[in-house]
């Protein structure tokens, strides 16, 4: 049976010592959806995402990723997700092709399959002629596109992006989002954290986090009308202010 929900989260909580980083959150993400995870720094976005990827054990609550339980089936989850962190995750001292080969290899792809996918990917990124260049010689925007493409080389069902566009110019960011859209159309679920409010508009649905809780959840249009705001920036500030009172 094909599941329609890519991610289901119920009462997920993470406590570090006496600090509750993620406080009892619940939500669902549909397959093929671009789901934005927004919030100020320290709101708990990254912690929540790390739990969903299997990098952190939750304190309590349950979650299913691509139909698999995060406690018991973390190995299966790893085969079905891609992950790209805010810290750049390719090797600077390897060439483009060596980086791709390495990651494709550890996902267990066959040699021929690796070659096909690599060609297809380099074609799409327009990097075929420079495939033997060292990563260190590429501009940041290119590296990020490459990191994204490498993170999904095994065609996962869901890809987690943790502030993927930090530090790049608006044009490159736009290019990056076009890439994301393309994959979302083909059915890949995109789970993305960001604090660029213009990027929030690109998402199908958004969850706003403050102090470890989900303060609001809905489509950008719904959130704007709910908070009587002209853009996401205003929504964000209004939610933060409500919290402060």
């Amino acid at each position: 049976m094909k599941h329609v929900k890519s991610i289901t989260v119920e009462n997920l909580t993470k406590i570090f010592g006496n600090f509750t980083a993620v406080d009892n959150i619940s939500f669902d993400v549909e397959q093929g959806e671009i789901f934005g995870f927004l919030g100020a720094n320290g709101a708990g976005k990254t912690t929540a995402m790390k739990m969903l990827c299997g990098l952190l054990m939750p304190t309590s609550g349950t979650a299913r990723i691509a139909g698999f339980d995060i406690y018991k089936e973390s190995e299966k989850i790893k085969r079905n997700i891609g992950y790209m962190s805010q810290r750049f995750s390719l090797y600077e001292d390897l060439s483009i092709i060596e980086n791709i080969d390495f990651y494709a290899g550890i996902y267990g792809l066959e040699k021929k399959e690796i070659r096909n996918r690599t060609n297809e990917m380099l074609e799409k990124l327009n990097m075929k002629s420079i495939k033997n260049e060292m990563l260190s010689s590429l501009p940041l925007g290119w590296k990020q596109k490459l990191a994204f493409s490498t993170a999904i080389i095994h065609k996962p069902e869901i890809v987690f992006l943790d502030e993927p566009t930090g530090g790049v110019d608006p044009i490159t960011r736009r290019g990056f989002w076009e890439l994301i859209y393309e994959y979302a159309y083909s059915g890949m679920t995109i789970f993305v954290t960001t604090h660029y409010m213009d990027e929030a508009e690109y998402c199908n649905r958004i969850s706003m986090m403050t102090e470890g809780r989900i303060a609001a959840l809905g489509t950008p249009a719904k959130l704007k009308s709910d908070y009587n705001a002209i853009d996401m920036n205003e929504v964000f500030i209004k939610i933060a202010e409500v919290k402060r009172k």
């Binding site: 990827c53 299997g54 990098l55 190995e75 790893k78 085969r79 997700i81 992950y83 790209m84 962190s85 810290r87 750049f88 995750s89 390719l90 090797y91 600077e92 001292d93 390897l94 060596e98 390495f102 990651y103 290899g105 550890i106 996902y107 267990g108 993170a151």
Partner: protein, 369 residues
């Protein structure tokens, strides 16, 4: 298994692509062996000696001539100027002075009882000890030949001549003694530094997190990250042994296979320590600091520079927990003495035990984080 090969391939590509790293791997054994083996000698030559002759007799001239003809000493002498000798010792331009008293020869001829006074600058204790030892032996030799020449059959022999015979290193050649030790240092440093820095580096640049979301097993990852340095350190050992043979003609009395076997076990201890360090640190700087901390303790307590028997009791107890000591002893025993498995099996057991303990500890800590 396939994952392991993929990681190994990546690691070796990165190591050999790193020009500094690959050059160091070749240059380190050459520089350490060729330079240090000569520099780190305990043999003291060119001891600067001043003889103050207050006797000015045939025998005192013979005395001076004897020292003058000795390789270990650069000998100067004067007649009766003890003040000058003192001031020279003070300013450090000489290492020791020997004062021949007035009536030295006469006393020897009549009562056979005489003496010289030796004053040594003992700031460098080891050097002072050796200078004393050398000058003593010259004096003894002199007195013996004097007694014999004069027909005394040592009527009142108060000293017993101790003759030393040095086994396994007959000429007391310090290069022979040092080279195996430097090989041990080389293997240990390469293994420890490279492994402790390597995993931390992935942590620092963020790729470790990326690897943790892939299906790679932690065991494959750790093995893939540590094995390259195991190979490189063993390569260094082989390379160093060739250099030792070619340049110093260091003997290889025992089995080469045994040496490599114990090195292979020893390296699992060293790489375990490296893994332990990279688990408890989060930057390369911290890892570097820790590695130095461990290295200095291990090396100073290994018996390379100071004999373990000369250490205070508590320090000797500490050396029991030092894997470098066991490896150092086995290497010297195999290379110089030709020891076989039975002679060093106790070291092999101890190293194996260390390896199990440190690796379990490191893996446990690694899993937790």
């Amino acid at each position: 298994m396939r994952n392991l090969f993929i990681i190994l391939k990546k690691e070796f590509t990165q190591i050999f692509r790193d020009k500094v790293m690959s050059r160091m791997i070749i240059m380190m054994p050459i520089v350490q062996l060729l330079l240090l083996a000569h520099a780190a000698t305990f043999d003291i030559k060119n001891i600067s000696l001043l003889i103050v002759d207050n006797d000015n007799s045939t025998f005192s001239s013979e005395f001076i001539a004897k020292f003058n003809g000795n390789n270990y000493f650069i000998t100067h002498w004067n007649y009766g100027n003890q003040k000058l000798a003192e001031s020279k010792l003070m300013e450090g331009s000489i290492d020791l002075y020997i004062e021949i008293p007035n009536g030295f020869e006469k006393n020897l001829l009549t009562s056979q009882e005489s003496g010289v006074h030796v004053t040594v600058n003992a700031i460098d204790g080891a050097k002072a000890g050796l200078a004393m030892f050398y000058s003593n032996s010259v004096v003894n030799e002199l007195i013996n030949s004097f007694s014999r020449n004069k027909g005394y059959i040592n009527i009142n022999q108060k000293f017993i001549n101790i003759e030393y015979s040095h086994w396994f290193n007959p000429e007391l050649n310090y290069t022979t003694f040092m080279v195996p030790g430097i090989l041990v240092l080389l293997v240990s440093m390469i293994g420890l530094f490279l492994s402790s820095m390597n995993i931390v580096r992935e942590k620092e640049i963020g790729t470790l997190e990326q690897l943790n979301v892939t299906p790679i097993k932690k065991s494959e990852l750790l093995l893939g990250k540590l094995l390259p340095f195991w190979f490189i350190a063993l390569f260094e050992l082989g390379f160093g042994l060739i250099l030792a043979k070619v340049f110093f003609d260091i003997p290889m009395e025992g089995s080469l296979w045994l040496l490599f076997a114990i090195s292979a076990i020893y390296l699992t201890v060293i790489l375990g320590i490296g893994l332990f360090i990279s688990t408890i640190t989060s930057t390369q700087q911290q890892a570097m600091l820790f590695t130095w901390f461990f290295s200095v303790i291990f090396i100073l307590l290994s018996g390379l520079f100071t004999a373990i028997e000369n250490m205070p009791y508590w320090a000797q107890v500490l050396t029991e927990f030092n894997p470098v000591k066991y490896y150092m002893q086995s290497t010297r025993m195999i290379m110089l003495k030709g020891s076989a498995y039975d002679d060093i099996s106790v070291f092999i057991y101890k190293l194996t035990a260390f390896s199990i303990v440190i690796n379990s500890l490191a893996i446990l800590l690694y899993r937790k984080r």
